[in-house]
């Protein structure tokens, strides 16, 4: 089987397994997996910036929250229909990423991390400051009437799972196509050696900005979907924690792999879920995972597997 065929088989197979899983999973786990699929879309977006283009951002919570509020606010204040609201969330995430990128991409490395962190922090504080318009700390509930698409009530288990799966599958196939496209090759080239890439005729700023906007679109639609599927929009989703989570998922699953973000999200989610049965030390699990990964497995699970043999893994 050719590398391309193997990779299609793997990714379509994952989608098929997730589709079949909804019929076997108990309700509790079905909700978990829906959550994981949406968070995996967020992490995939993070991976496009970090894993493929080498942009280590600490500000992706801003784009996630932009998507969430971009979806939620028009419903809350203008009574928009769900589909236009989701599109507004998608656009908000991409637009904010573009805006931040225009400034932050003048820096690199550690400065880039801090600048993105600061913009995200300013965004979070702005949500609190404008509490009369945003619901502030408490956030708001998404109107249940606005959570029905084509007769499917997304607040119920089966439609919610399907909606999450459709979003996840679409996002993953686009990601797969992107990283195998000529532009995907240029993103990786930028990560590997920016100066060399410039001497091959690529404008580093434009390539990185494009990658960041794509990443922001992913984060935006993930935030919008999260708010819509689980019915709540709140400022907690703009905190630094939600910038760290996708980074953690990507590091765990394997930066620069298409399935890595999903694998990371799945494992991390259940790691916390299972350990929280024994201990409340949720923060410790996250912290220890970060330290252990960066010390012993900086390439993550799939990155290591790819290095050891499965070279065709995209």
């Amino acid at each position: 089987m050719s590398a391309s065929a193997k990779s299609w088989a793997l990714h379509l197979g994952l989608i098929a397994v997730l589709f079949a899983a909804q019929f076997g999973l108990p309700s509790y786990h079905a909700t978990n997996v829906s959550r994981i699929m949406v968070l995996a879309v967020f992490a995939m977006g993070y991976n496009i910036a970090f894993g493929y283009t080498g942009l280590l951002s600490l500000g992706h919570a801003l784009f996630f929250a932009a998507g969430m509020y971009g979806m939620g606010l028009p419903i809350w204040t203008l009574s928009w229909a769900p589909i236009p609201a989701l599109i507004a969330g998608l656009v908000a995430g991409g637009a904010l990423a573009g805006l931040v990128g225009l400034l932050a991409l003048r820096t690199a490395g550690v400065s880039f991390m801090i600048v993105t962190l600061m913009f995200a922090q300013a965004g979070y504080l702005t949500l609190l400051y404008l509490n009369t318009h945003t619901g502030g700390d408490e956030g708001f509930v998404v109107d249940s009437a606005a959570r029905v698409i084509a007769g499917f009530d997304l607040s119920t288990d089966a439609p919610r799972y399907m909606a999450a799966l459709i979003l996840f599958a679409t996002a993953m196939l686009i990601c797969l196509w992107l990283v195998r496209s000529p532009f995907g090759r240029v993103m990786v080239a930028m990560r590997e050696n920016e100066q060399r890439s410039r001497m091959l005729g690529y404008n580093p700023f434009r390539v990185k900005l494009t990658a960041l906007v794509i990443s922001g679109l992913y984060a935006g639609i993930a935030g919008a979907a999260y708010g819509m599927l689980f019915g709540y929009v709140g400022a907690t989703f703009a905190t630094i924690q939600y910038s760290i989570l996708p980074m953690l998922y990507v590091l765990l699953g394997g930066a620069g792999t298409v399935i890595g973000p999903f694998l990371g999200a799945l494992l991390m989610f259940y790691l916390i879920d299972i350990t929280s049965g024994y201990t409340t030390a949720y923060l410790f699990v996250v912290g220890a995972a970060l330290v252990v990964l960066v010390l012993f497995a900086p390439k993550g699970i799939l990155g290591t597997i790819r290095e050891r043999g499965l070279k065709w893994l995209p």
Partner: protein, 239 residues
């Protein structure tokens, strides 16, 4: 005949050091133009100014009559000036195919696979597409670097110390390769190996202390007393 590329009064100082100091330079289409000079004469800085890797302090550069003095490096690449690095600078973690494909797609290749194969064949690296560039031998990495330059389909190919570290047999192959490029591509060559220079170049410019010491054909340069003294002086100082 109009020059393909022309530099007038090109200058770049680093602190107090005049790396390139008022250089006038003409590159005619189809020539193989070698830039030579003792160590520290400003050769690499000079071609870096031409390719845009280092910004110009004063002076001007035109390409086919168009002023490109202030254009960013990646824009100049698009306009047909390709630069291959002195220190091998391929992407070690990417495959040979991806390395060359990056160059070919930048030049707008339609048939990526075909273009990559053609560029690799010209430097005798055909069949190595799936190898990681970092696993190639040093000589092969130098050739890959040249293949990337070729895949850009440049009007001007600037080769910075291309034969450094190549074995004698590889140098012969390399000379044949460069000869096969002209006149479609104009070649600029920074080179220490005088046999290669005298054998290949149709035109030579000698730099010394950031200034042009002489320009001419290999025979003229060989006969030039200034060049002889600069080189002999240089060797005395080094030895």
């Amino acid at each position: 005949m109009a020059a393909l590329m022309q530099a007038l009064g090109l200058t770049r100082h680093f602190g107090g050091i005049r790396a390139v100091d008022g250089v006038n330079f003409r590159l005619e289409p189809g020539e193989i133009h070698a830039i030579i000079g003792p160590n520290g004469a400003g050769k690499t800085t000079f071609v870096s100014l031409l390719s845009g890797r280092i910004p110009v302090q004063s002076g001007s550069i035109t390409l086919g009559g168009e002023d490109i003095t202030r254009l960013a490096a990646h824009v100049r690449v698009k306009k047909g000036i390709a630069y291959t690095f002195q220190i091998t600078s391929v992407y070690p973690k990417l495959s040979v195919f991806d390395n060359v494909a990056l160059a070919a797609q930048s030049a707008g290749a339609r048939d990526l696979g075909g273009q990559v194969a053609a560029a690799l064949a010209r430097v005798n690296l055909a069949g190595l597409e799936d190898h990681l560039a970092g696993n190639l031998s040093y000589g092969h990495q130098r050739l890959l670097e040249v293949a990337m330059g070729l895949a850009l389909k440049p009007r001007i190919l600037i080769l910075d110390e291309p034969t450094q570290g190549l074995a004698a047999g590889e140098i012969e192959g390399f000379k044949a390769l460069v000869r096969s490029l002209v006149p479609e591509t104009t070649v600029m060559l920074i080179e220490h190996n005088m046999e290669v220079v005298m054998d290949l170049a149709t035109q030579i410019t000698v730099l010394n202390f950031g200034q042009v010491l002489a320009t001419g054909t290999p025979d003229q340069i060989r006969a030039n007393p200034d060049v002889q003294s600069a080189y002999l002086g240089g060797h005395d100082a080094e030895g």
